[in-house]
Symmetry: C2
Subunit: 190 residues, 2 copies
DNA sequence: ACTGTATGCCAACGGTCGTTGACTTCGCCG
DNA sequence: CGGCGAAGTCAACGACCGTTGGCATACAGT
């Protein structure tokens, strides 16, 4: 069994310092305004080190937006609970770290960012939807509907910070959104 | 009564050419990547004219994001139709011109953009919500919920262009979203 | 202890940006 | 037709960006 790895290289601490500084800068400033120089300053090293370890600003960004939606096993679940479980899971994802905020911020302005976002949608959300949507041919559409509500709430709550949305408790968000998500997944097509 | 205005100044045609080029550039590139030089090139004039007429890039942007949600009169409406009417109205707004796309794109990255977006929410959407939400104290929260679903759909459909969302027909979008919006406005708090 | 290599800093490059001020051209009014 | 202000062009500025190559330093293997 492998315990917590000792750094293989002396530079690993610097590498992760850069990565963490980059996460925060990209999350709060977006791709264009997050400068390599500012990230390096935050990490306490020279800008040239960023280039050495990540090749380019684009390469650093690619390392930052490595996201894993990481759905729990839903196969044994009471189907009526799908909405609650999914909304709760998404809230956890958004509050755990900044990577989704980064991806949304950048995906809206930057082409390679929105490519990545479409890719996450297609390779992680849609397959998950196939698992519990009755008609698989409909899975894409239902996944898109769920995404619209979940991303929309994330947008007004965590990015735009509309006061009433940002101030809502977790429980209230779940209480309001879960029935919507539940319907998008299980309801007959209207 | 005032007919269509004759240009008061010779420069008005240039002014509006700049404004239209700016609308498109800001909408498709976001604030940072939309350069004054590119906007001027699109408008067929010198970059310095942009500064003469709008003072600065920030001033030009402020002129671009003058948005009017322009709600129809809902007071005489069957309350059961609120969802359908509102979703239809929002689809019209998003498809009519690019200003909302611009505002969303920029609001996600730029502080003055998100300020403006919060302002539109507070001064246009919330007051409209007060008109048809039973408990006025709840109007802010319900307006935020509606905004989350409407902005979320606009995001995946018009900005991120998730294929299943972008390919949905207007009727399907209305059919799926209207019940959600209807519930956010009229349902008991869960 | 010596040496090769990994790690880090420094200074500078070419490019692009927003912005400015001086200069030229156009069009109207007397 | 002459003059004058508006409209537009042009070249340049200072700043900042991503990126590069050379040089100093610290470390690990022998």
């Amino acid at each position: 069994m492998t315990g917590p790895e000792r750094p293989r290289r002396r530079s690993d601490v610097t590498r992760t310092a850069i990565l963490e500084a980059a996460r925060e800068r990209f999350a709060s400033d977006g791709y264009e305004r997050a400068t390599v120089r500012a990230i390096a300053r935050d990490a306490g090293i020279d800008p040239s080190m960023v280039m050495r370890y990540y090749g380019s600003k684009e390469g650093l960004f690619a390392a930052v937006i490595d996201v894993e939606l990481d759905f729990p096993d839903l196969s044994e679940l009471d189907p009526d609970q799908l909405g609650v479980v999914l909304v709760t899971h998404f809230l956890d994802l958004w509050e755990r770290d900044t990577v989704l905020r980064t991806l949304l911020r950048v995906g809206v302005t930057n082409e390679s960012g929105s490519d990545r976002l479409r890719q996450v949608f297609a390779t992680q959300l849609v397959p998950a939807a196939r698992a519990f949507v009755p008609d698989p041919a409909d899975a894409e559409r239902r996944a898109a509907l769920v995404a619209s509500q979940v991303l929309g709430m994330a947008l007004v709550r965590y990015v735009l910070k509309f006061a009433p949305a940002a101030d809502m408790s977790r429980e209230d968000v779940i209480g309001w959104l879960a029935p919507t998500v539940q319907r998008y997944i299980t309801a007959e097509t209207p």
